[in-house]
């Protein structure tokens, strides 16, 4: 998640100081991703250094508001204009777990899938319950919640699909590793040396 771009986006609404930015961020995302206030100030300092924001004089209570600069605005526009790259997303532990499950002797893949499906569905029920709890949720919060709902749904669909594929595929028994590296590997190693 980009704290830098989030702060720039919030400052586009108008000048604000650290605590205001933190609470605005948390209210927009339904407290889903708590922000550390220290992180907010470090990021503001860095943004100021890069001339993407500028510090305004302290107010009577000693709080220093920041304002987005023209260069900051261009930077923000660039962020909104570029899609999130797959490489920016964390590795998916579930995918790795299932890829290993199908190649590990003695693992009941259907059981692993069912456990995950139940857990993810439970999560989906909770998100739905949170969503149903508010008649008119704030739009930003609704988006965050629905993104989690659709992601959970996608995961369950993928699990359903994987279960069907695994059930129809004859899998060879995974073999133990050879005791010595095979020839091509040795060659590769020699070349490296």
């Amino acid at each position: 998640m980009s704290v830098k771009h989030s702060l720039l986006a919030l400052l586009e609404r108008g000048p604000a100081y650290g605590y205001q930015l933190r609470s605005a961020f948390e209210s927009a995302t339904g407290n889903t991703w708590p922000l550390n206030i220290g992180q907010v100030y470090t990021t503001l300092n860095r943004l100021e250094r890069d001339q993407l924001v500028e510090a305004l004089p302290e107010n009577d209570s000693g709080q220093r508001p920041y304002r987005i600069t023209a260069s900051g605005r261009r930077h923000l526009a660039g962020w909104f204009a570029s899609p999130v790259q797959a490489a920016d997303r964390p590795r998916d532990e579930l995918t790795i777990k299932l890829a290993l499950a199908v190649t590990t002797p003695g693992v009941d893949v259907a059981d692993v899938i069912q456990r995950q499906r139940t857990a993810t569905l439970r999560l989906l029920q909770e998100y739905t319950r949170l969503k149903a709890a508010e008649e008119q949720p704030e739009l930003a919060w609704r988006l965050v919640l629905e993104s989690m709902i659709f992601r959970a749904e996608a995961e369950i669909r993928w699990l359903d699909h994987t279960e069907a594929v695994v059930a129809r595929t004859v899998r060879p028994e995974p073999r133990p590793f050879p005791q010595h590296a095979d020839e091509t590997e040795t060659q590769a190693l020699q070349e490296k040396r």
Binding site: L121, Q125, Y127, A164
Partner: protein, 239 residues
């Protein structure tokens, strides 16, 4: 008393070598105020379960009870009457009668049960209002309604009178995601108000509206999910 109860229900289609266990030794109870979703791959027994619950099919062994009555003890006429008075259906394709208005469709179960047309119509308009349709929309024919409105009529019809059990088979099938969600919200609300709902769906997002999700595979219940107690703590972990 549970509104719907399945006690060790088994349904076998065919016999001998061709016997297929559509549902095996299944227990399920749904209380008033509860919405239960059934999920599972095709052929897992979802539709069989729904048909047994609605008395459209009879179990090979075990018992199905609706509001405490064992369906197998009823003769044809009594079973039909119980289905009219206690069970409502919502289908994917709405199943409204095209030559009747929305209000006439909603009033149909009451009229079939012998209520006067005028009184049934009054109750139908009230039922339509509960699902968010006004008198003007109530006078429209099914082909003059949007998919979402038609499904609202079907839900009103399913729960009109004293009926407390609604069986829904992929009720959002043809609807876009926002309209589909409205239909589920409505079903959820009717359950919160005291109905018991059984929802068959392949869509996890829709099952998310249920209190409990039962997974079927090869005619057996393989797992069941009830939500955990505290949703807030779950979100704190969603980084």
């Amino acid at each position: 008393m549970s509104v719907l109860q399945l006690q060790r229900v088994t349904r076998v289609h065919g016999d001998g070598e061709n016997a297929v266990n559509a549902l095996v030794d299944t227990d399920l109870a749904i209380e008033a105020g509860e919405l239960v979703a059934i999920m599972g791959p095709s052929g897992s027994g979802k539709s069989t379960l729904l048909n047994l619950a609605g008395g459209l099919d009879a179990p090979t062994s075990g018992a199905v009870l609706v509001e405490g009555t064992v369906l197998a003890t009823l003769n044809k006429k009594k079973l039909a009457a119980l289905r009219r008075r206690s069970v409502g259906y919502v289908f994917q394709d709405y199943n409204l009668v095209p030559s009747l208005t929305a209000a006439e469709n909603a009033a149909l179960p009451l009229e079939l049960d012998g209520m006067s047309a005028g009184r049934a119509r009054t109750l139908a308009h009230a039922a339509l209002e509960e699902v968010g349709l006004d008198a003007k929309q109530g006078d429209r024919f099914p082909d003059e309604l949007s998919g979402g409105q038609a499904q609202r009529v079907a839900i009103a019809r399913a729960l009109i009178g004293d009926r407390r059990l609604v069986l829904a088979d992929e009720p959002t099938g043809a609807l876009d995601s926002v309209t589909g969600e409205e239909v589920l919200k409505l079903l959820r609300r009717r359950c919160d108000e005291g109905a018991a709902g059984l929802l068959v769906t392949h869509d996890a997002r829709h099952a998310g509206w249920a209190d409990r999700v039962v997974f079927l595979r090869d005619g057996r219940v393989v797992d069941s999910s009830a939500p955990l107690a505290d949703a807030e703590t779950l979100l704190e972990g969603a980084q």
